[in-house]
Subunit: 538 residues, 2 copies
């Protein structure tokens, strides 16, 4: 009895020290506050120990789940969304972890910390601090599972681009051109056995996570955050094919995995949940399963990170369900021709991202052999329709051991990635979402509603353009006689912006459009991929 | 007391005679069986008398509502969906109408009676007897409210066309070019008053329908049925503008109207429910109201007729709701360019009808001035995408008193209507739905999956076409080396079909496609609107 008491004292002291050594007293808004508690047991700390905490701010109470991080350490993470003092109190089925109290001060965000990205203006996104966010993403499904030098190279590559989102999987990938064995696994190995061909197969203990795997993933997500990049985190995918079995775990294991993942990662402000890549190729799960799993993610995420699901080409899930904050689609059809992307947006009334329209590359597969020009063109086709298109690159110059960015990260070898910063600059200067000015009638012109228009001529090559605008200006004030505009010619491929040395003034409405009163024309370069930025002079 | 008994006897005898004079003993499957019961009261027979009946067939029981048809007559209508003996028993809150029994025999459908149109193969339609139904509709919103000779002319016009569906409103229309005062109104007039300009305004008794109005509508719907035309009946519309007030009745009156309309018309096999035209312009109703009203229609319709709702340009309602059997959209964007129509179909997984893409005509409005060629082209653009496009015509040669078919019916004055029978013939010969063969990759080719393909070149003019097919053939068996085909050139505008005097045999798959093994070409007329019908030789 005395011994027991003594141990308890030691533990309490340890916890006390622990608290002060690990808990930060000041945390920026939307940064991460962490409580670490030590507790040694003979239990399965993942499945038999519950731990959570209630955080109470000035006028908000948020309940968050904790998790076991290995090494006798339990962690509770919290992302404060409001400034001021936050107090917490832990709950656990283990008395040593229960009723632990503390507080910290949430201070103003600084530098590049703009908070979580949220849906804004129905079809678009803003950071929590109000800054407009225009998703310009790329894809590297298994980059965190490659050799360490490749991972470091990926980060270095991304640093020198304009990308602000990346699609990436939690689980490793086993696919035609991506065969690398990861060094870390999400679960602990129960045993190994040999298959009929004598190949070693790992038998996982799906009740025991491998904290090192998740710590590594978290490190990479934090590094992306420091680069201003959102991690569009793919929770499940079909690219396993019997190698590890992570695509065919039991529903119970799936739900435990979601609980653990969300407990660990919800406090990372740059995380988005992508329930799956090509969900319909995951043969072990039904549409009903996907809904169950999505609801589990939403339930366990107190901050309501962006959440969607992605299917194979032309496969549209029930994106109207309230769990999905936005539409994440694999389909090139909506951006191959004018006028289709806005239809998708209109149907769902949610932000629409074409998260896979094919890749710039040199593969034999038709999904992986766009020219850089085509990839860049498709991104612009999305933008002019009020939607967003994700970039991807699939160049392979050696063999499957080559680092194809689409799967492995590494270095970009193409040309379209270089245009992303240029596009982002244009969008951020506009500082407002763009949408079709004259929906279903003129699919080449988009408006910000704030006096700025974009026209994208795509593959049409023109020598001149007669200045004219539709009188309809989305739901904003119509164009009026006497309005004056300046015009800039954007070469989306050569990345030049040249101002036209004339001012244009529109006359009366003529058959739904207003022309320059003197029918002045703009001289255009006889080239494809030309856009115009038209700005009202106030 | 004696007197009462005597009256009751008279009534019973009257009912007895009534029964034998009105109830048919043999009725074709999907035809209409009618029970008429006489009952005189001082009540409001529309709102205070309930009458319904249960019809029991061999293994089916169907409950139907009856209605008051004026003249002391209550009517119960029933459409038998199965052959054999059906017995009925009435229920009423009035004892004289309660517990009336009878039976009839449902016999095999004959001639042009194919039954109700239902959804088939997810994206398409079939009659109840299994015959494929390809919707080729036109529009005459207020034709039943015009002078009688115009109505007769409309029927005569439709008889000589290939149309098998028409969009038409229950209520009269008050719109820029449609100002005719109807001779019949759906409600009885309570009183009249003058507005501030001295114009007479009718005050309706929304609790008292005008049976003559509905009898007239029914006569017209039956006449359409005899022409093989489905009545896509628009229940509400916004084209009233304070003239009659049918667009701003109370919700109670709306629900009474739905109850009355469905009781009268559900037994008409060629009725489709269109909850509204341009629902979003009906300012008195919210989206929630539309859902309530749609649920009421579905609840009161024991046969589950096709049901949808139609909005303004680019306005997509929640078509995924189970109440909607198909998608009925106003939007030209999906058929202006290749590849967009299949996206809409994929999103909803329901039959998709673009029920307003603009009209062939000569109006100043841009919605009413397509050439005949353009109208015909848009219909083909829909078909090649696995969807359907409704025709419409808006020629006005005199002034607003002219019979513009779109609003009033009358005669067609354009050119595209002449192509409908030609299209219908092609589709009925195919006798299977067509869909994109290689979704999101090649939007110009559609397959029936039964060895017949259609390619539509649209506005492209070609001199030759190198015989080739995608290896992908929707979800049907892929194209194989050695398959042999014949080719017919369809001039969709000139309405000619010419067989190419060669047989084509495909070689190996070459980059997702199979070419004629000798690279044989098809000589094409250098004209727009050319299609090909490619038929596998078995």
């Amino acid at each position: 009895m005395k011994k027991y008491k003594f141990s308890l004292w030691i533990l309490l002291i340890l916890n006390f020290i622990n608290f002060f050594s690990h808990a930060q007293s000041k945390v920026q808004q939307w940064d991460r506050f962490e409580v670490k508690l030590e507790y040694k047991s003979q239990k399965n700390n993942f499945s038999e120990v519950n731990i959570s905490a209630i955080f109470t701010g000035k006028d908000t109470t948020i309940s968050v789940q904790g998790f076991y991080d290995g090494n006798n350490t339990f962690v509770i993470r919290f992302m404060p969304n409001k400034m001021g003092i936050w107090k917490y109190n832990t709950q656990s089925n283990v008395s040593e972890l229960n009723n632990k109290k503390g507080e910290f001060e949430c201070v103003k965000a600084e530098g590049s910390n703009h908070g979580m990205v949220k849906v804004s203006e129905i079809y678009n996104f803003k950071y929590a601090d109000g800054k407009q966010y225009f998703p310009l993403g790329t894809t590297a499904y298994a980059w965190t599972h490659m050799a360490n030098d490749v991972q470091e190279l990926t980060l270095k590559t991304l640093k020198n681009t304009g990308f602000n989102k990346i699609r990436m999987g939690v689980f490793p990938k086993n696919y035609d051109l991506v065969k690398e064995e990861p060094t870390l696994y999400p679960y602990q190995i129960k045993s190994t056995k040999k298959d009929s061909l004598g190949k070693e197969i790992k038998v996982w203990d799906f009740t025991q996570f491998n904290p090192a795997f998740f710590q590594h993933l978290e490190k990479r997500i934090d590094e992306l955050k420091d680069l201003g990049i959102e991690a569009d985190l793919i929770i499940f995918h079909p690219y396993d094919k019997g190698r590890w079995g992570f695509d065919e775990m039991s529903m119970e294991a799936n739900l435990q995995y979601i609980k653990y993942l969300t407990a660990r990662l919800s406090s990372f402000r740059n995380v988005w949940w992508s329930m799956a890549n090509e969900y319909d190729y995951v043969k072990s799960k039904t549409d009903a399963d996907w809904i169950t799993l999505t609801k589990a993610v939403v339930k366990n995420d107190p901050y309501r990170h962006l959440c969607s699901i992605h299917g194979s080409t032309g496969r549209y899930f029930d994106y109207w369900r309230p769990e999905f904050t936005h539409v994440s689609i694999q389909d090139e059809a909506p951006v191959m021709n004018y006028g289709a992307a806005p239809i998708v947006r209109n149907i769902y009334n949610k932000p629409t991202i074409f998260d896979e329209v094919g890749y710039e590359g040199n593969l034999k597969h038709r999904w992986g052999r766009y020219s850089g020009e085509e990839m860049n063109h498709l991104i612009w086709m999305g933008l002019i329709g009020g939607t967003y298109v994700t970039h991807g690159e699939s160049y392979m110059f050696k063999d499957l051991r080559d680092t194809i960015f689409w799967g492995k990260g590494g270095e970009f070898k193409g040309t379209s990635w270089k245009r992303i910063a240029f596009i982002r600059n244009i969008l951020e200067k506009a500082n407002a979402p763009i949408e079709q000015a004259d929906l279903s009638r003129d699919s080449k012109i988009a408006t910000t509603g704030k006096g700025v228009y974009f026209i994208y001529f795509g593959k049409d090559m023109n020598e001149t353009w007669l200045f004219n605008l539709p009188s309809k200006n989305a739901n904003f004030e119509k164009v009026k006689k006497g309005n004056r505009y300046k015009v800039e010619i954007i070469d989306t491929w050569d990345m030049t912006i040249k101002e036209v040395p004339s001012i244009f003034e529109v006359g009366e409405v003529n058959d739904y459009r207003l022309y320059d009163k003197d029918l002045k024309q703009v001289r255009l370069p006889l080239k494809p991929y030309i856009a115009l930025r038209i700005t009202k002079i106030i």
